[in-house]
Symmetry: C2
Amino acid sequence: MTESPRQRPMRADARRNYERIVAAAQEVFAVDGADASLEEIARRAGVGSATLHRHFPTRRSLLEVVFHDRVEALCARAREHAERSAPGDALIAWLRDLNIYAAASRGLASSLLRDGRDADLLQQNDDCRAMITAAAGELLHGAQRAGSLRPGVQTEDLLTLVNAISLATEHHGDDAQANRLLDLAVDGIRMPR
Amino acid sequence: MTESPRQRPMRADARRNYERIVAAAQEVFAVDGADASLEEIARRAGVGSATLHRHFPTRRSLLEVVFHDRVEALCARAREHAERSAPGDALIAWLRDLNIYAAASRGLASSLLRDGRDADLLQQNDDCRAMITAAAGELLHGAQRAGSLRPGVQTEDLLTLVNAISLATEHHGDDAQANRLLDLAVDGIRMPR
DNA sequence: ACAGTAACCGGAGAACCGCCCCATTTAGCA
DNA sequence: TGCTAAATGGGGCGGTTCTCCGGTTACTGT
């Protein structure tokens, strides 16, 4: 769905294969999670593995494209929450959305967020991460201005924490646990004094 | 260090290889993390890969043995905390220990905790997990009796949460972040009302 | 001391994986 | 229509986990 307009408009056959790969990846990732076999994706798309690797040099770049739309939807929800709810509630509600999304994506968000930093190959298409960070940052700012958050909470940390919860729970396939853990993190383990 | 006393006492050569493998695994896991190549471990131990797989049918069973000692030390610290500090503080302090331990172990605790549940092969040697759960459970009970914890906090959830933080941060190699995230989880994201 | 036997070993091989080279095909322009 | 640069994908390489099985070796009972 989302193509990258290079300098030249991309040849018709290239475009066709590109889209086939994305479609296949969508299916396979949904079933096997983000660590699915790229070979299998190529096979199902009916292209050689070399073609897949040419279009998507890294696994991450493929994930990026496959989930661009969903991430966009998620960010749209952030805006909705911001309009509908009080700043503090909006952030919390959206964190819940994010958690559900990540859990449903079988390690995807995890993979997207995880090596955002440690990928030395900077400046690779960080689209999804950037969008999520932006959405989170805005909600967080609002909540902070309204005084609904503990001071010193960083956007980066918040995202990593939610991501951590998804990472740890997705293997259990246990959505309820993911929600419990988020509640725990939101209100804290310790009794407020 | 820790051998499993089967029905028969294990032949001398078997014992020797077993220990060589554990020693090699210790080194290799420390360098490459919990997903290190088993082949490499066998190579370094000077045994065939079949021998490794006979002694340790799963990667997890190897990790189990390699980190038994460290986990024991960690549980000992739990007892120390329980004696020295107020129940609530003891738990929090120990969670910090656990977090540091997990971070230092390069994905080990993660791997140990992660598939504790989803491993269908029940009744495989769950030693480490059991020890940690027991230690955590005791501290948690104490803290709960003293009223220092929010009600409804489960041992399982607590461990998973700390584990999640380690999982998410270890790739950054950023201990400071791990600590910040734990603080966040302990006191909560939201302002107490 | 010396079998005999059961336990143990490890090389080789099957079935995967990601990644890349490069001879071949093909789309689009003139 | 014919030329050229772009795109393709089979097949190879080096890696993984895990298993089979013929050969070796440590223990045991006489």
